[in-house]
Amino acid sequence: MKLFRMLGRSIRDAFKSAIRNFSLSLASISCITITLIIVAIAIMASFNVNNFTDLIESDLTIVAFVENDATEEDLKQIKSDINSLSNIQEIKFFSKEEVGEQIKQESEVFEVVLEEFKDGESPLKDTYQVKVKNIEEIKRTAEKIKKIDNVAVVRYGEGMVEKLVSAFDSIKKVTYGIVIALIIVTIFLIINTIKLTISARKREISIMRLVGASNFTIKTPFIVEGMILGLLGSIVPVIFTTYGYLAFYRHFEGYLYSQLIQLIKPEPFIYQTSLIVIVIGILVGMIGSASAVKKYLKI
């Protein structure tokens, strides 16, 4: 009973003092707001970068060209041999004719060139297109496929793929690094602002100590207040995330510069980001207050 009463009072006092110390509260809230907007941008940017690198990676395939004299039996054998490898996600077969059709559709020049060949003299080969599970292992997998009987040539964009994969890997690491660094900076910034607001109230804390309030009782309202400030501070960033990203997505119609760079669909992405922003705001407000008030509990 007593605990509930004290908690109720803590929450009431937290609201009261947030209002009574309005200018200080506003300073903390503004600080939280600005830094959370930056964090939100960083989160959205990093998620998008990861999204399109994942998309591009998932498009990468190994193409295995089959020898011209391979029989139906051989084709089946190749398929089962490829399937028995560990890193295989998906395998698709395209006959010469299908490959021809695809090429013809892509360019008129190819169409004219292919017309020149008679049936049976086609320069094209039956192919298997293979998607791998782990893109970093693509080279090793391609080499294994090449060793299979009746496989003539294997292509996977040698050189280019390796560069792309390592570039994407660095991009991902860098964006994660930026987000984490920003969150840490935010925490420090907010802790310092809250410290300022609390040092303005050390008198109140020392009086609480003098009249016999336990440290728990003193800390709780400040922590609740920190949570409230964090929550209030995340309102603008949440609006910014939701409407800002929506506007951004619509303006670029879902793509950035080329069809290759696809943006993440706004729903449910904006809600997830908003939730992350709110949680960071509340946690940071809480941690900031708790660490700031600690200093004054020793008088």
Partner: protein
């Protein structure tokens, strides 16, 4: 019975100053004691050690059965709930009314609302501020502010009331008003009062126990004492 027992207490500050030296003292329940002495005599240090703002470097201090020197920082509130403290600078919260300031002391220790109301009104009435209950501290005179601080100190019915120069900022007339309030509390509630002061007139007119400190030593402790300029 003794409420306070001080045995061989020494207080040395980190800067090397020895504020109290080998102090031995027992103060009975219900007594009213003036602690007098010049600047640097150790009056304030003695009061501060009693409510554990300062820890003695040597010796033992027992207040109401609690060994103050051994009290951990986290447990200090247990001692503070047994005593009331009044300072020269009142230490009221400026953004709270008289009622709220007094109620604050009970709220932070988790008292019930009805209980708070009854006790707060009683304490405010005792210090004679019933008609100023909704005023803020800056709307009150110094004497009135000090009486609010006294109401806050006694609202939890402490056994001991510590006063560190409570009349230091007040003119003689207001000082006497405050003294009347304190005397009344001592008589009606039986609260033990220890008051550090250098106000000669107050000490001489009240005729209470007087404890004289000089350079951290106990010089004299007697009933119905007077302010002995020579001893100081």
């Amino acid at each position: 019975m003794d409420l306070i027992r001080i045995k061989h207490v020494e207080k040395k500050y980190k800067n090397g100053v020895t504020a109290i030296q080998d102090l031995n003292l027992a103060i009975e329940k219900g007594s009213f004691v003036f602690v007098i002495g010049g600047s640097g005599s150790g009056k304030s240090t003695l009061i501060k050690m009693l409510y554990r703002e300062e820890k003695p470097t040597k010796g033992q201090i027992i207040v109401g059965g609690l060994d103050v020197a051994k009290l951990k920082n986290k447990k200090v509130y247990k001692l503070r709930r047994k005593l009331g403290i009044v300072f020269q600078d009142y230490r009221l919260l400026p953004k709270m009314t008289v009622y709220e300031n007094v109620a604050f002391a009970l709220e932070v220790i988790g008292a019930k609302k009805d209980e708070i109301r009854v006790k707060v009104l009683k304490a405010i009435e005792e210090v004679g501020l019933k008609n100023k209950i909704h005023n803020y501290p800056d709307q009150l005179s110094g004497g009135e502010q000090q009486r609010v601080a006294i109401a806050r100190a006694i609202v939890n019915d402490p056994k001991l009331l510590l006063c560190d120069e409570p009349t230091g900022n007040l003119d003689p007339e207001k000082s006497m008003e405050v003294m009347k309030v304190l005397d009344n509390i001592n008589k009606t509630r039986g609260t033990t009062i220890i008051m550090a002061t250098h106000d000669q007139q107050i000490v001489n007119s009240m005729k209470k126990q007087v404890l004289i400190l000089k350079d951290g030593h106990l010089v004299n402790f007697k009933e119905k004492g007077i302010y002995d300029n020579e001893a100081i």
